[in-house]
Amino acid sequence: MASLVGSRVERKEDKRLLTGKGRYTADINIANQTYAAFVRSPHARAKIKKVDTSKALKASGVVSVLTGEEIATDKIGGLIAGWAIRSEDGSEMKVPANPPLAKDNANFVGEPIAVVFAETLDEARAAADLVSVDYKVLKGVINTGDAMKSEAIHDGIDKNLCYDWLLGDRKAVEEAFAKADKIIKVDLINNRLVPNAMEPRACVVDYNTASEEITLYTTSQNPHLSRLIMSAFGGVAPENKLRVVAPDVGGGFGSKINVYNEEIICSWASKKIERPIKWIAERTESFLTDTHGRDHVTHAELAVTNDGKFLGFKNETIANLGAYARVFGTVTPTYLFGPCATGVYTIPAAYSNVKAVYTNTAPVDAYRGAGRPEATYTIERLVEKAAMELGIDRTEIRMKNFPTEFPFKQTLVHTVDSGDYVSGLKKAKEMADYDGFEARRKKSESNGKLRGIGVSSYFEACGIAPSAVVMSLGCGVGLWESSEVRFNPTGQVSVFTGAHSHGQGHDTTFAQIAADELGVPLETIDVVHGDTDKGTFGMGTYGSRSLAVGGIAIVNACKKIVAKGKRVAAKMLEVNEDEIDFKDGEFVVTKSNKKKTIGEVAFACYLPGSRDSEFKSPLPEGEEPGLIETSFFDPANFSFPAGSHIAEVEIDPETGEVKVEKYTAVDDFGRIVNPLVVEGQVHGGIAQGIGQALHENTEYDETGQLITASYMDYTMPRADNFPEFNLGFTCTHATSNPLGVKGCGEAGAIASPPTIMNAVIDALGGQEISMPATAEKVWRACKLLKKTNSKAA
């Protein structure tokens, strides 16, 4: 039987998802349900003096109106930060209380203050307009760079500083810098992004008054984790009385990791009003209240020798957490960012210092890449600038500083198990016709256009992650993953996973893995996820961990199935276990070629006897009936995908328009389970990264109003913004998991922003401009360039 792992199997889920047969939270309706509408703060920062619900309560169709008073009285807990980060001075990070409904203070536009439940959605919305809130409006802290100089927005949190974190050795860095021929410096802003999942957040809650069980249907990337948090910290219900179902979910990109206010409020309220509740976010609510991504202000320096060797690196960053610290909010700008900021290079001394600040803006949390795009942007801008300033070819300077031996002990935290950065960059150069660029540049110039080329080499730490490591770094949970594999008596297989698919294609790729392990046809396997009542437990999907962690749990559970199968087959075939080989779904006695299929063995496991024969169980002594196995996998290390991307852009200096002419990506994801799915992941990641580099920006005005709160103003990239992507792969197997796989979901979004910006800046003759490189910014840079060139002439 040919191996399914490695083949371009078309996605099983697409029939459902592309023909409108997906079942999303909004598709779920419970008899007698009420509709929720939230009253949200119109102010970035205000004291809440009084909330008057009397008019709303009398409005047509209203079932209940609840406020922060009631939720506090019922002792429902707030939203939490999932990682505890320590400052350089050893002190614990400062975290403000974040009640689901704000009672005393509103801290960002869109923060929920009250909620109305009514018989219809229109009635709920109309009544929400009748809730009168008396605010004392205060001057908000909006700007990332100014936060530490501004008035404290949370009681007891001086300078709005959550922590002042250091990784690395300042003294060693200063010594390295003293030896340098040249110091390369950059000042960067990593623009704030709104994740914009296609499906807005939603929840439907059903409370059973008799069993006292709450069922929460929600848009989550990690239903088990949501249940744990809601139970342990929210106090909504004990875990055994709380079922969390995340059915088909239309994209997350990190924004659906968190347990949100609305899920806690609706779960609590459903129990209180004894009615089911339905809530679906409007697109504007998504813009205002989904966790945002990025938002760093960075100053970084690279110490180099004249011949292009890197000696030292320093990174001073202010990271905006928004109004509150959420699940991955505090770790994204620290352990997911700092260690990767030295990139794919051997740099003897380095440090990353990050100050995380609170502002009166939406909370910032993980967004595709989470910390690693910011890290890669920092180092790859520095490296490109170093090449330019030293007059060394951009690819040569990279090759010169790549490690060539693996495992590679990276400067700050990670030991990278495998990789081959040189081959990756060489391949990318060939595929991109790097050497032919100057001719293309001249051709563009003859048409009055500016052409630039940019390179970025990246690695990232994903497949998060070893529990022992992450817990030592402050994570509140272990990040293992689990799976249960059930062989049915009649031969089909259900694979339960704690990972969650919201676009990644697990129905297909996980089935491929199990099919290979068990030797059964792909069609007989169903992958089940997204329901805390189905399967064991799980930490969910983020940080490119589903395959490298969750997939391995599936492999291991399958191996246990085969091991038990072998014991049973031995009894059935009346030989010793060690005389049996398992291959292509069959247990074969090597000497006699007598065999039992895994289906026959499964059947026997469930029906160990026969009415007509003398009692003779196929099960060995002490073996339990049934064929169901569970595995929990905790990896020994992160996985470290890496690669090199090359982009070419053409700029019209009159209009400032940037056109991406060519994009080449060569990635090393270790062993690839399904090239079709992987290519889709890379395409999506690159598109998101190009969005960050050229189009997307989240802008608050000085009062904290989000002025890019709809698609009229927030620029989502579209298909016509992209060229055909040219993808290639190299392969070094990961050594930390038996499949040799590495995560692939975030790589595109990590590598592409610096690739594009390096190309834009190259076209602009080295002039620095910030992301997104919008038409007006580029037009201004072109004007300056023209001026400089004419002066030089």
Partner: protein, 261 residues
């Protein structure tokens, strides 16, 4: 959305009779429906004029192209007659919004709304259009009064727009990267006796740039307007483009339009 009465009059007379101070005519609904959903506009009566046959269709004579008010953008964009008579008009219609918008949005709706960044008003101005209503004929230059303001009176309904066929013409648009409305749109038309450079997106309402029009009337080449500095003081300024950038774009696209003619 608040509830409203929905009417489908069979002819213009009936439509006009239904109109009141709390009513709105509905054609493609590409602006009015989102406004109503967002609660920015509320009406007691919605008068859907899509079913009035007389209001839809394209007629081409030797001198003009007349397009019925409820004719959809897609029909203008793909019309062989329009492509032959005024290719730039078909191009303009084909670049409005996206496929869904073009399949519903109408020329009458676009000009009645007079969004400062809509494309059609510039075509009306450059092509000396005459707006036919149920009461009168209005010259384009007197029709667009200011931001979202037109010469239409309450209950007055656009029936058709008559565009004068020029000798040469071209439309150039710098789209807002998010909404794809015009940050700046320049409609250039060379008629027998004059050249019109109509600009949308740049100011509070569509206008004819008199300076550019005059210079190109005396010499129809991009070098005639090269190096001109346009006054940016009245130009719109927002997160996507400053007035200064818009002023530069007007000139850039005017030149591109001349070169494309």
């Amino acid at each position: 959305m608040k509830t409203f009465n929905y009417h489908t009059p069979k002819d213009v007379k009936e439509a006009s009779k239904l109109a009141s101070s709390s009513s709105a005519f509905l054609a493609g609904g590409m602006t009015s429906v989102p406004s109503m959903k967002l609660g920015l506009a509320t009406y007691k009566d919605i008068i859907d004029i899509k079913h009035i046959k007389k209001l839809s269709g394209i007629k081409v004579s030797g001198k003009s192209v007349t397009i019925g008010a409820t004719t959809k953008h897609v029909d203008v964009a793909t019309s062989k007659e329009v492509k032959k008579a005024i290719p730039s008009l078909a191009k303009l219609a084909g670049g409005i919004g996206d496929a869904q918008v073009r399949n519903r949005g109408t020329v009458g709706g676009s000009i009645a709304n007079n969004d400062p960044s809509a494309c059609y008003p510039s075509a009306c101005m450059a092509l000396n259009a005459i707006i036919h209503t149920n009461n009168r004929k209005i010259e384009a230059s007197k029709f667009f009064k200011g931001m979202f303001e037109t010469a239409l009176k309450k209950g007055e309904l656009i029936e058709a727009v008559e565009f004068q066929i020029p000798e040469k013409s071209n439309y150039q648009k710098h789209p807002n990267p998010a909404s794809r409305y015009a940050i700046v749109g320049v409609y250039l038309a060379k008629h027998k006796k004059e050249v019109n450079v109509a600009v949308t997106g740049a100011k509070s309402s569509v206008y004819i740039d008199k300076d550019l029009s005059k210079k190109l009337s005396s010499s129809f080449s991009s070098s005639a307007i090269d190096g001109i500095e346009l006054d940016s003081s009245e130009m719109n300024s927002d997160i996507h483009a400053s007035g200064e950038f818009r002023a530069s774009l007007v000139l850039t696209y005017a030149k591109k339009a001349v070169e494309a003619c």
